[in-house]
Amino acid sequence: MSSANIVSNMSNSEKVTAAAGRPAIADKVRESLGKRYRAEQRFQLYGIIAITMAILFLGFLFASIISRGISAFQATYVNLEINFDESVIDPDGGRDPEVLHKASYRGVLRQSLQDLFPEASGRSERRALLALISNGAEFQLRDLVVENPELIGTRQNVWLLAAAEVDSVVKGQVDLDLDESQRRMSDQQVGWINQLQNDDRVERRFNTTLFTNGDSRDPEQAGLRVALLGSFYTLLVTLALSFPIGVAAAVYLEEFAPKNKWTDLIEVNINNLAAVPSIVFGLLGLAVFINLFGMPRSAPLVGGLVLTLMTLPTIIIASRAALKSVPPSIREAALGVGASQTQTVTHHVLPLAMPGMLTGTIIGMAQALGETAPLLMIGMIAFIVDPPSGVTDPATVLPVQIYLWADSPERGFVAKTSAAIMVLLGFLILMNAIAVLLRKRFERRW
């Protein structure tokens, strides 16, 4: 409005020389300057507020996850003097591995505990005593004996995994002032724990179980092995399929396809696919890959196929953008010395576009790593203890494992859930860091 006035004033009084008109404009500009600067400052302020809020929320998120999950990276172990009683383990003395395997190590464990706390005599007291040690301890003893049969008949100090409730007590997560009936550990059990602690028989160590075990009903025994391997196999399938297909599609659309209605239609649909909710891909996978093609349920193969469908649009769009950003002069240069279209693309355009394509791929992979919904549809939510040995074995993936643990009522799973989230976030950050590094490493040089 004001500028128009200035201009028409100028032209109406054309006889007035430009020199006379100029100070007037300068005054007007000066008048508006203050307002403009204030607007600019206000704008900056909004930006700073927005960023501060984002950082605050992010900090809050990380703080709550880490504070809750960090304790799960440590596990409590109890040292017991185990009496490898031959009459219990191998009464015949044949040392037959079969017999050693089937022996009652729970009995061995119960006996050893009773030796330590002779005052626990009643049936329920004995059960309470056994509940201090993880259910997995008897298998730990079994494996120990099967591997070293010479232990039979000796007494050994062995570190055994404590039960999850003991772990919570040792980590101070249980409010001991609470009435006994309101907590999982009775006063008597807490007393035993204190006694063990006083005897230096309790120790906290790095929780390797978290990475070496599959899922379990017992929080102290539950691990991410199956989920990590499942995620790995799933991403492997996704990468092996979506990268070549995505790059090939992008190269064809960008470099070879004629620009017509059909390619426009394809382009629109690729963009549409990128916006399709992922659960729809899961339903598709269920209907096509499992029901129609008869592929196994819960398998990383099917998960990878479904995630391929989901990441393809991302990769194609990123790859096309990378190809578009290669200057046409490079193509002209190659064509000008007589390179064929294919040579131009493979020798010059692709190498220059590769960093952008890889970045897009890694971001797509990171998306796939965090994806849950479509994998629920194809049965990757199953409770799986044994690690998969290939892409067709049943498995679960990290985010689904997080969902499963978050859904479990035991208090030990609260920390486990947060720990699993930390592992997942760790991988995501790692992948994004690789993407950034790649971009830096292959910084455009023309």
Binding site: A4, S8, S329, I330, A333, L335, G336, H347
Partner: protein, 290 residues
């Protein structure tokens, strides 16, 4: 609202009209004036028309490019010089909407016929572009690329020889011989353009097309390229598009003046610049078109 007031204001619009001559105002001649033929033509073009979709960008142009001569193409911006040049090595094929009709021959072979392989054509008709565009690879790789894809060298020593020779003939060898393994994009603008020329002559083409090869360069670098063009014409036929009248006068033997897609006048360079036969050419070379 402000826009509307400004535009309809009669004083403003009268005031802003440029009192110069517009290139659309003049009447175009029916036919090309002057001799379009060369004594020993390497390339001949007859009745070439080029369309970008509906836009008629080149209208009935015929022109020869002779052996061992430099043909300069001049004309106002947008008159179709680049378009015409790009027809000569079918670079226009890369533009989907571009359609070329007419008769263009290289040593008697129709380059738009089915038998002509476009890769072979571009090996025989090299091109140097307006902006230096070396590959983001080493200097050596830049020059070696053409001979390598065409299989011109039997072994590594032969390839090295071709690279050295080409750099030598492009007048660049002395400046870069110690750093052949460094990126070609690290050279100065003038050096990059000479590298692009070396890359073109490494394939040993019959014809070299140059589209404003000096427009991104300073006068010293320009002078070096002009000397180079003068030397190269002993072995090649050269067609050069330029905006600089002085450059056309210095390097070329024949000059073609384009105007709005028409080839208005062709003749010996001396004659065009001293004694143009059409009013349009005269107006252009005396600088009457903006």
């Amino acid at each position: 609202m402000s826009e509307a007031t400004t535009l309809t204001d009669p004083i403003i619009s009268a005031h802003s009209r440029v009192p110069e001559m517009s290139i659309a105002d003049v009447e175009l001649p029916k036919e090309t004036v002057g001799d379009i033929t060369a004594d020993h033509p390497t390339m001949t073009t007859r009745n070439v028309d080029v369309f970008y979709a509906d836009k008629h960008a080149i209208i009935d142009v015929s022109l020869d490019i002779g052996r061992n001569e430099v043909v300069a193409m001049i004309g106002p911006s947008g008159c179709g010089k680049s378009t015409f040049l790009r027809c000569l090595n079918r670079m226009n094929d890369t533009i989907d909407i571009c359609r070329v009709t007419g008769d263009i021959k290289l040593e008697g072979d129709d380059i738009y016929s089915k038998d002509m392989d476009v890769v072979l054509l571009r090996a025989r008709v090299g091109m140097v572009f307006q902006k230096p565009n070396p590959f983001p690879k080493s200097i050596f790789e830049n020059v070696a690329y053409g001979p390598r894809i065409h299989g011109l060298a039997r072994d590594k020593t032969e390839l090295e020889e071709i690279v050295h020779q080409s750099l030598e003939r492009a007048g660049l060898l002395n400046e870069v011989k110690d750093r052949l393994d460094q990126p070609g994009t690290g050279l100065s603008g003038g050096q990059q353009q000479r590298l692009c020329i070396a890359r073109t002559i490494a394939v040993n083409p019959d014809v070299i097309l140059m589209d404003e090869p000096c427009s991104a360069l300073d006068p010293i670098a320009t002078a070096r390229i002009e000397d180079l063009i003068d030397e190269l014409k002993q072995n090649y036929s050269i067609a050069i598009v330029t905006h600089s009248m002085q450059q056309a006068a210095r390097v070329s033997q024949r000059t073609a003046y384009f105007h709005l897609g028409h080839l208005v006048e062709v003749g010996a360079t001396d004659q065009i610049f001293t004694n143009p036969r059409t009013k349009l050419t005269e107006d252009y070379i005396t600088g009457r078109f903006g």
